[in-house]
Subunit: 254 residues, 4 copies
């Protein structure tokens, strides 16, 4: 019987501004990717989110992104792989510092947004991120988009590596996500998303745009919660998976 | 025969902007307080400074300050002790993340500027900083201004604690520094500063403004290098201390 | 028959983060204080808010605050009056630049948060702000808290000056607002707030904490809309004022 | 007899950090491009630079760039032309606000760094910048790199338009600058740069990489001063131009 982790991007407020309903999402997911002050997040938000995640028994990962809050980490900022590695080390270190004070363990790293997309395609960027994660203490794992260079680089670096698929994103035949600005990129119907996930969990085959499917491995499913509709959809997907007999559990203990 | 550490604030550039001559200062000091991205510093600057310090055999500490680059950490930003503790944990974590990638150990924490001044006087702030340092891994020490609440709080928290005096700052009879905006606050003559330090190292008595002296303990002397005159003065002080038979060595090995 | 302006702080999003429901508030107020990139706001948010205000026929003012988004402009950042004047000139200029592109006129300046509170009490700060506003082109007016040094400084500088009272804040006998951290500082009941305003508009006497009242002049009432409850309260106050025969109109045409 | 303007990028400090020797450069140039808080600059730096330029009789222009101080405006940040126009309006407005307080007129706009390079090639970006400049009050001119889309867009928008060439940069046969990362991109010899400029001022033909030359028009020559060697070179170029009988004067009066 299938078991899977549900992860979501949380702690994405910024000072007085909030983003999404972290409290609701922490009741749905088994792993929380927490922003590290790059694309979002600040010490207060990190601390509160870490504490809330720990109180709910949710495993915590670091979610580094381009240091570009105005673009929410969704714009590629021109940087060398070396600069990216140092930025990732700095951001994950930031979250680990706050987590130490909060008494919470950070277990994995998942790149965010445009950085994750670049690391999916560019091995040099993925290698730099993997090197940064590997240099940090505490045996951090990597949560990578399934089938990407990031996944390959992390495995090549000998890091504990887990792959994720997206509940609400369509795939191209080459395994990449359909870019957000193309039609059909985002699946808005919770039932359709759940059907797709259940079929994938049974078969290991992910449907791709244009028909057909692609073999993918996944230890986790990424669900979004940055608006009320997303939270509702996440809740429906979770309920459908549970109803379908899927066990929801983190890929690493908290 | 006396032994003392010389420490200086380094890595205080910010992106394309540099501050002081870190290369020169790393040839003079035995410990380097490296900015953590709060009042100054960024991942590139941290990494380069960490590597340079390690290459010179200089011990490295974290130098957190108010997250106020425009004020260079010299303005008190209203924050609760709890917020200050979380900010310090975040910043020290940032430097530790970059240091892990650089293969360099961070050995101690020294608060910067207005944060250090506040922690010198306010025990609740000092306690919050000590709690943050104590929560971080790796047995970090605290480098505190001698005779302050920060020193007391750090000792009370059971942290390895070292005290510093200033080579170029005058003291008030109560042991606090003469504020920078008052006459005589800064000693501009290297010879006078060296005479004062040598006498202090021999007697344990620090001269205070208005005459008389104060018993202080110190494992380190803070010297500044943020402009060419300061670098020259630091060089003279170092030479005078060596000529006076003082051994210069870090209070903790690199 | 009484006429009054209703003003509110709008455009207080920041990049991907939103704050309050500007669309709803623009249907309630007659003047909009728009954040200028200091405590909140960015070119995109400014432009969109300016356009929306113009489309609704709402008069636009600049709402400068401390350049401290993490503190939302509610912390006093230590600055000289001269520095404050230059900061205000920069921020109002920023909004005027975006407004020129949007084809919208900026008609007045209202300081925000901790800056407004400081300028209420400190004449040197108020004078610096008035000097900055007076130096800018286009005959900008000042919207000041009634009875404050800011109002006096603006009048002394010969600027068009309008005073505001708060719908939801209690007053001290000396005319200052009860600080937010004291009991009774904020009036949460819309009916009570409306009763108080109607009585004030009729009598010119504002009730103060501890009993009694204070003569105040006001051309505008500040209402808040940074959360759903605040928007609802603003709507009720507006409805009650209209039902009470008060004409709602901006103190300056758009 | 030839007349030309010398312009340089000034006011590129950031809070406590300085960049270049603005005092020295203001003795050499006839026009100063002042950073607007995007890639560099803050209200204090703007105000001081504006005042200093005015005291030296140097004409002042706004120098907007990507809001990316870490990259010093030399990285392309993905933005739509509309977003770029709003950013430029905001930044030029910022400088105009500070300039109003300083009693100094801003006469022109010159885009900075990666923004200038993009606007040189992309007409939609250049059009957005020209629209922003045209919407601002005071009849601002544009200073554009000679032969670029920015120059064409500015002329098409009916703005007063002036073209510049670079003293220390090599040109490609198509009129674009040789990118900084290619060999020969930067001319390091002041004598060679001066020879080249004098020949160009006489013939209107700019030598291009690989041999041959290109007809260019120019009202101004850009010289750099961000390090001591650049200041020395700028001084030599100025002296050579004067010795060659060239009159140095701004393209617009201060």
């Amino acid at each position: 019987m299938a078991q899977i982790d549900l992860n979501s991007d949380l702690g994405e407020g910024f000072g007085p501004w909030s983003m999404g309903d972290d409290g609701a999402m922490l009741g749905l997911v088994t792993s929380a990717n927490i922003a590290c002050g790059g694309h979002a997040g600040d010490p207060e938000t990190m601390f509160a989110t870490l504490r809330l995640a720990a109180a709910r028994g949710v495993t915590v990962g670091a979610h580094p992104g381009y240091a570009d809050p105005m673009g929410f980490g969704r714009r590629v900022i021109p940087m060398t792989p070396g600069q990216i590695g140092r930025m990732v080390a700095a951001q994950v270190g930031t979250l680990m510092g706050v987590a130490a004070l909060a008494g919470v363990a950070v277990r994995y790293v998942k790149p965010h947004g445009a950085l994750a997309n670049l690391a999916a395609d560019r091995r040099d960027v993925a290698d730099a991120i993997a090197a940064a994660v590997g240099a940090l203490p505490a045996g951090l794992a990597v949560l990578a988009i399934s089938g990407t260079e990031m996944e390959a680089a992390s495995r090549a670096a000998g890091l504990p590596t887990f792959a994720e698929v997206f509940a609400d994103r369509a795939y191209l035949p080459d395994g990449r996500l359909v870019p957000r600005d193309r039609p059909g990129a985002v699946i808005h119907d919770a039932g359709a998303a759940a059907d797709r996930l259940l079929a994938f969990l049974e078969s290991g085959q992910m449907p791709v745009q244009g028909g057909g499917s692609l073999p993918l491995q996944a230890a986790s499913v990424c669900i979004h919660g940055d608006n009320p509709a997303a939270v509702a959809m996440a809740g429906e997907i979770r309920a459908r998976l549970l109803a379908g007999g899927v066990t929801l559990a983190p890929f690493l203990a908290p």
